[in-house]
């Protein structure tokens, strides 16, 4: 895989390698658009361990709410605390300032099961 490629889940999280043994995750542009104005987040606790597909946090808009699911097995090593005060960053810059958490990567092969940009696009189109 290309190290800076962004990968995607079927539950609309993005994943990007961020250093040797860690990944950064967030909510996709498509997901933030579907949710609308984001007004609240619940972030996971530092050092909490999650299994793949476990909900680690919650993103709330006015009339909808979406779980952030853990795309891989791993431990939370950093959270984007600034979102608690300014959750709208997820709307404004979902792939940048709106990142949600960093997770320790235990098994790089887990990334192989995720979708690339192209696959994700056709997944969204099919969902429509």
């Amino acid at each position: 895989m290309i190290s800076d490629e962004i990968l995607y889940t079927r539950t609309h999280e993005w994943i990007k390698k961020d250093g040797e043994n860690s990944v950064k995750i967030g909510l996709t542009d498509h997901a933030q658009e579907e949710l609308g104005d984001i007004v609240g987040v619940e972030l996971p606790e530092l050092d909490a361990e999650f299994a793949k597909e476990d909900p680690i946090g919650v993103i709330e808009s006015v009339k909808a709410v979406s779980d952030v699911n853990c795309p891989i097995n791993g431990k939370i090593i950093e959270i984007n605390e600034i979102l608690e005060e300014t959750p709208e960053l997820i709307n404004e810059d979902p792939f940048g300032k709106g990142w949600v958490a960093k997770i320790e990567l235990e098994d790089e092969s887990e990334l192989d099961e995720l979708m690339n940009q192209e696959e994700y696009q056709s997944f969204i189109d099919a969902e429509e």
């Binding site: 609240g40 709330e60 808009s61 006015v62 009339k63 909808a64 709410v65």
Partner: protein, 449 residues
């Protein structure tokens, strides 16, 4: 009679449009599943005139208590209800509206709820109130649950045993399927002992819940309770009598996290137990964890002030199994009645009703005790409108004799106080009772023994 409007011609027209011969054709899916459907109710309905007669008949089977001064309490109280409350709440613009999901055409209901929330917040001294719960008991149960969920390690609720036992049963029911356990704090002489409380607050207890006043009518030392809970890091849930709060200090002053209560006293009839009104107030930091609806003030697209249901992602229609509560329908019309009632009272009325009730209840209590015929249960304790006295005979026999004398003299304490003996009766004096009624009741009670 029925309340449909379609004429035979209308129906024919509609059936023709649908290309069917009879309405049964729309029910073929059901007919395939259930053959003939038998209902045993009489097939004919009643006319309005017949209905009135029928329900008059039911009404007359209740013993006429219209001339009996009512000193009963135990969680439902005979307070005065101004005509304005009935007049406003019977307006069909309020009564026949649904939950205000479309704010642009529901500003009346929304603003009234916002005002209700504000009254409750000011009375209880809490920052946030919801739009109502089913009743005081369910409000207390949900208040305990909200706080219990906030501690991942401690799983126990300490519940004062002198909370109204009907309410306690509801709290037990609400916690049935949860991971939480209830421990009861014994209350000797009808009061919580701060020493016992301190001792019982072990490392596993996360929430303490009690009522102010308690089921005997006695005022607890909220200040001391608050100090102990704060020191031990235990959440503080209190239920209060809203009508005392113009005069009596709110547990909010002593650090309560949740204040709930029964709002029936605020302009709602006794109604044989319902519909009543639970109120629920808490601190701002709990707003996303609260059960029930909340109305907020905001602006419209043209900058005009308006009201909406807010923080809806807490609720069942969005959060589903992760919602803070399953409550959907609440007691909105009862909350409206409470809001109108509190509007009429205002600042001065809320103080004056509190004082009036205290003066009358204490007048009656003093007279009874002075007679030497009945005994105080706890002579040190203070009360607001309801107090217990110990009789020489069983309380249920006493209330029965008094009813024959034309007085609803109270509620046997064991109905609602788990720790009570059989000879104690709870007597409530509201602002509705006159001096003559009180004097007469005292005379009739004391002449019994």
């Amino acid at each position: 009679m029925d309340y449909t409007l379609l004429t035979d011609q209308d129906k024919e027209k509609m059936l023709a449009f649908l290309n069917i011969d009879c309405v049964e054709e729309l029910f073929t899916d059901i007919a395939k599943t259930q053959g003939k459907c038998e209902i045993n109710l009489p097939s004919d309905g009643k006319s309005e005139n017949e209905l009135i007669k029928m329900f008059r008949g039911f009404a007359e089977k209740n013993i006429d208590i219209s001339k009996m001064p009512n000193f009963m309490g135990g969680g439902a109280y005979d307070h005065f209800i101004p005509s304005v409350v009935d007049s406003i709440s019977s307006r069909s613009d309020f009564n026949t509206a649904y939950t205000p999901y479309q704010p642009e055409v529901s500003q009346g209901t929304l603003q009234a709820i916002y005002e209700f929330q504000s009254f409750i917040s000011h009375l209880t001294g809490m920052e946030v109130s919801n739009a109502s719960m089913y009743d005081g008991a369910s409000a207390m149960a949900e208040g305990c649950l909200m706080m219990l969920r906030q501690n991942r390690k401690k799983k126990k609720l300490l519940l004062a045993s002198n909370v109204n036992s009907l309410w306690k049963q509801v709290v037990y029911t609400y916690l049935t399927g949860t991971e939480y356990e209830i421990i009861e704090l014994p209350a000797d002489d009808g009061m919580i002992s701060s020493d016992v409380l301190e001792k019982m607050l072990d490392d596993e207890i996360s929430v303490f819940a009690y009522s102010q006043p308690n089921a005997f009518g006695y005022l607890e030392d909220s200040e001391k309770i608050g100090e102990i809970l704060k020191e031990k890091g235990v959440y503080h849930v209190a239920s209060v009598d809203p009508l005392m709060l113009g005069v009596i200090e709110t547990p909010a002053t002593y650090g309560a996290d949740v204040i709930v209560g029964e709002g029936q006293s605020l302009g709602n009839y006794l109604n044989y137990g319902g519909p009543y009104l639970g109120f629920f107030a808490t601190t701002k930091k709990n707003i996303r964890k609260m059960p029930g609806r909340v109305v907020g003030r905001t602006v419209d697209s043209k900058g005009r002030s308006g009201f909406v249901l807010t923080y809806q992602t807490r609720e069942q229609h969005i959060r589903r199994e992760k919602a803070t509560s399953n409550i959907c329908s609440n007691q909105a019309l009862c909350a409206l009645r409470a809001c109108v009632y509190m509007s009429l009272l205002g600042k001065d009325g809320l103080v004056s009703i509190g004082k009036n009730v205290i003066q009358k209840s204490h007048y009656m209590y003093d007279k009874l005790i002075e007679s030497g015929k009945v005994e105080p249960v706890n002579s040190e304790a203070s009360f607001f409108k309801e107090f217990p006295v110990r009789l020489p005979i069983a309380a249920s026999a006493f209330t029965s004799i008094m009813r024959q004398k034309g007085i609803l003299a109270g509620v046997p304490a064991w109905f609602v106080c788990a720790d009570s003996d059989k000879n104690t009766v709870l007597i409530t004096v509201t602002e509705k009772r006159t001096k003559e009624e009180i004097d007469d009741a005292v005379l009739k009670i004391t002449s019994l023994f």
